[in-house]
């Protein structure tokens, strides 16, 4: 039978071990990481295939070879008997699959499974003895909390699944596995609580994932555009998290989580705007403090996006709005600077973005030096030499700090900030109002799988308003169970 890299996925396995080996080697090419060995099991020829560095050698000898040798000692068996032993009788590994095509063989092989092909049987058996190196569970990198759990997702899908499963010990929690990416065949696990989720949402997500025609899927960013509704939006209606506890909270609300093998970030959908301001810490602190911090976050978001633009527009076009003394100080500070406020603001903002990007990319050893240089250049030298004014520096500093309060919206705040500075500097508060209505309209029209992105603010859902203003007490949470349909008003 002919096999090549175009038809291997659907090519059925042959009956002969020799043919199997030939076809396997032809499909895989001369790749050095596929190890093919002939073994005899109870006098019967078999082919053992494994990917180098993917399987655990301890598990291999203990769970596979030892039982096989035991079986071998007893008597000479037929192909069928060997197959039955491998698939039903032995206690080798829990994860055993019967494979009938080369596509399935390669899927399993490169996922760390060992493959045993029995001569005379046109099926193979995969044994789950993965032992590839993976990162140990560490603190989540992007979403830090004080009182919440300190373990975060890692790149291995199955570990991530176990992190979620450990927290929700209910049979209602379901994981559905599928592969996305024609070449990479990346494992994706769709998770949900079956008694809370709207089945239509799950079906829609599965359909959208299956319709993806990409060759490669390496991270969440590859899937997001396909899962979002068709609209060129500023904000994303899908949230990401690297915290298992955060994901469990969202699953409990009837949302769907999508775990992707190879990335420590999970996708949660449908998501609404207000959830970017919610953290696990909200549920570990007193409710009055939660309310306080929540409003600090809202304020931080507004400051991060609009403060420099508002400052530039008010100071340039509407000086009457500033208090008398503030205006005089401002004018005094602007007296000697060469550029307009708009230009200064754009310069400092771009310098800040350069510093920030450098801080992310640089090795840790050099990072400290970058912050010192940044502080010196921007902070001290630029102000002393009257290149920029001190009030503006304070504004940008405050803005930069505020933008770190909501890391999930960092992309949007960075770009919108610049847009606000440009429109505020060119057209004053009028320009800001035009930009604001465009942003609001763009955001309001966004939906996440029929859930309006701006819910429950607009359209107002009174039941969920307390969750915007703060957090309901746990006594109340006992009585009310959050559901996605609370945001849409449509009962499941």
């Amino acid at each position: 039978m002919n096999i090549d890299d175009k038809n291997y996925a659907h090519t059925l396995l042959p009956t002969s071990a020799e043919e199997f080996k030939t076809m396997l080697k032809k499909a895989a090419g001369n790749t050095m990481d596929v190890n093919v060995s002939d073994i005899m099991v109870s006098g019967h020829k078999c082919v053992f295939v494994a990917s180098e560095g993917m399987i655990s050698t301890d598990s291999l000898s203990e769970l596979v070879f030892h039982p096989l040798m035991q079986f071998n000692l007893d008597h000479k068996a037929s192909a069928e008997e060997v197959y039955t032993f491998l698939t039903q009788q032995s206690l080798m590994t829990i994860d055993r699959q019967e494979l009938s095509t080369f596509g399935e063989v390669f899927m399993r092989l490169f996922s760390g499974f060992a493959i045993i092909f029995i001569d005379g049987k046109n099926k193979a058996v995969s044994l789950g003895i993965q032992g590839y190196d993976k990162r140990s569970i560490e603190n989540p990198s992007s979403d830090t909390n004080i009182m919440g759990g300190q373990d975060g997702f890692i790149e291995a899908l199955r570990t991530n699944v176990s992190l979620v499963r450990r927290r929700i010990k209910s049979p209602l929690l379901k994981f559905e596995l599928m592969q996305v990416g024609k070449v990479t065949k990346t494992d994706i696990a769709i998770s949900y609580l079956s008694d809370r989720v709207d089945k239509k949402i799950v079906d829609e997500i599965k359909k959208r994932l299956m319709d993806i025609e990409l060759d490669t899927v390496f991270s969440t960013g590859y899937l997001k555009p396909f899962l979002e509704d068709k609209h060129k939006a500023i904000f994303s209606s899908i949230s990401t998290t690297d915290r298992p506890d955060a994901m469990c909270i969202k699953l409990n609300e009837g949302k769907v989580g999508v775990l992707i093998d190879g990335t420590p970030f999970a996708l949660i959908l449908p998501s609404v705007f207000i959830e970017e301001f919610r953290t696990v810490d909200d549920y570990t602190t007193r409710s009055f403090y939660t309310v306080y911090i929540r409003w600090i976050k809202y304020l931080s978001f507004l400051l991060a996006v609009a403060l420099p633009g508002l400052y530039v527009s008010i100071a340039s076009f509407h000086p009457g709005m500033l208090s008398h003394r503030l205006l005089l100080n401002l004018v005094a500070s602007q007296e000697s600077t060469p550029y307009s406020l708009t230009t200064e603001a754009i310069i400092i903002t771009i310098m800040y973005e350069i510093m920030r990007e450098a801080g992310i990319r640089l090795p840790k050893a050099v990072g400290g030096a970058v912050s010192i240089v940044g502080a010196l250049i921007i902070g001290d030298a630029a102000v002393t030499s009257s290149l920029i004014s001190a009030p503006l520096l304070i504004i940008i500093g405050l803005t930069a700090t505020a933008s770190f309060v909501i890391p999930g919206l960092n992309q949007q705040t960075s770009v919108l900030r610049l847009a606000y500075i440009a429109t505020g500097g060119l057209f004053g508060l009028y320009g800001i109002s035009i930009l604001t209505i465009a942003v609001i309209a763009n955001t309001c029209v966004l939906s996440s799988l029929t859930v309006p992105y701006t819910a429950p603010i607009s359209p107002i859902t009174v039941k969920r308003l307390t969750n915007i203003l703060g957090r309901p007490s746990f006594l109340r949470l006992q009585k009310t169970k959050g559901r996605v349909e609370d945001l849409t008003g449509v009962k499941k």
Binding site: G320, R325, L328, V331, A332, Q334, T342, T343, G425, L426
Partner: protein, 370 residues
């Protein structure tokens, strides 16, 4: 289509960016702190106190010990014309959004023209104080008052305190214009004077220049858009007590126990208008609160109370007599009261406002409480 729209957006962005629209700086406008209007041969002489920072540098704050202002003057047929001349002198557009004070010289004929410029200028600060002066308005706004970032800040504070103490009527711009329009051109403005203070020997030795001070000792009545009679302090107190504007005023009372200084404050007032022949009768009840520095006996307190009531009644009756009977000037809000009570009567009476005001009968009752 997508490429075309992208090109359009890019062209728009480039053209806007390079058009220089975004080149505004806060210091590109002249921030006017105080305005003085004098009479000129052919129109008005306008003087503007404009902020000019005395110390520069982006890290240097304003030096409060220095003047931080410059006064520029120009003449014009109209206020707008004069403002334009000032802008030409300074090379900046004038911004009146933080203008604290408007001083008008007594010699100016057309007061409404002075006010009209600021009514039509939407930037104008509506709570700026409007005052008059017998001497030069330019002199007033050039006064060397060194405390505060700019002199106008201190000037405004002087007026605020005066108003609170009853030495000045409420002469905020919007109030003056509102009364002006309601009463066909009547208002009361504080009369402000400048006085150079004597400097101490120590200051003379160190070479410090004499500092100026401003004081409000009188007020001036505007009638039919022209400056009219000067009012003394008693009359001003009378108006303020009548309008319940006294917040914290010192009063000297003579009792059998001697001269006393007490604090008096308006707390309540009520007015009742009844039609009487071709005019009205106004029954006014004023309640004031007295605050003493120390505890006194009951008889002593009663004596003070009765003196305060007598004095407040004197002030208010005198104000009514002077304003209504002698000058037919409605600075006491009579027309507004009539309008509120009986619109038909109001319509009838404003046809001959002067006669109506002359014939108003007032009956004032004052009660003082502790």
């Amino acid at each position: 289509m997508k490429k075309i729209s992208l090109m359009c957006v890019l062209i728009l962005l480039v053209s806007i960016t390079f058009s220089g629209c975004g080149g505004r700086k806060p210091d590109s406008v002249g921030i006017v702190q105080a305005v003085g209007i004098d009479k000129a041969e052919d129109g008005f002489k306008l003087s503007l106190q404009v902020f000019r920072v005395s110390s520069a540098g982006s890290q240097t704050p304003i030096d409060s010990s220095k003047s931080n202002v410059e006064v520029i003057s120009a003449e014009g047929k109209t206020i707008a014309n004069a403002v334009e001349m000032c802008e030409n002198q300074l090379g900046k557009k004038m911004f009146f959004g933080h203008n604290q004070l408007l001083v008008i010289n007594k010699e100016v004929n057309d007061i409404y023209s002075c006010l009209e410029y600021f009514i039509n200028n939407f930037d104008a600060y509506l709570k700026m104080v409007v005052a008059a002066t017998e001497k030069s308005a330019k002199d007033i706004i050039s006064a060397d008052i060194s405390s505060g970032a700019v002199a106008a800040e201190t000037m405004k504070k002087i007026f605020d305190v005066s108003k609170k103490d009853g030495y000045s009527t409420d002469s905020r711009f919007f109030k003056v214009v509102s009364n002006y329009i309601n009463t066909d051109g009547t208002a009361v403005l504080p009369l402000i004077e400048k006085r150079a203070q004597a400097i101490s020997d120590k200051s003379k030795e160190s070479g410090e220049p004499a500092q100026d001070s401003l004081e409000i000792k009188k007020a001036i009545l505007i009638k039919n858009s022209k400056f009219s009679k000067t009012l003394d302090m008693d009359e001003v107190f009378g108006i303020n007590y009548f309008l319940s504007e006294i917040d914290d005023s010192d009063m000297i009372v003579n009792t059998s126990y001697g001269k006393e200084s007490v604090k008096v404050k308006n707390v309540k007032q009520s007015s009742e208008i009844t039609e009487q022949n071709d005019s009205v009768k106004l029954d006014k009840k004023i309640t004031v609160r007295i605050t003493l520095d120390k505890e006194e006996s009951k008889d002593h307190r009663d004596a003070i109370k009765s003196e305060v009531e007598k004095k407040v009644k004197e002030y208010t009756e005198s104000a009514c007599q002077k304003m209504l009977s002698e000058n037919s000037a409605d600075v006491l809000g009579i027309t507004a009261l009539v309008r509120q009570t009986d619109y038909k009567l109001y319509k009838k009476l404003i046809d001959d406002r002067e006669e109506f005001l002359k014939n108003v009968k007032t009956n004032i009752k004052v009660s003082a409480v502790y």
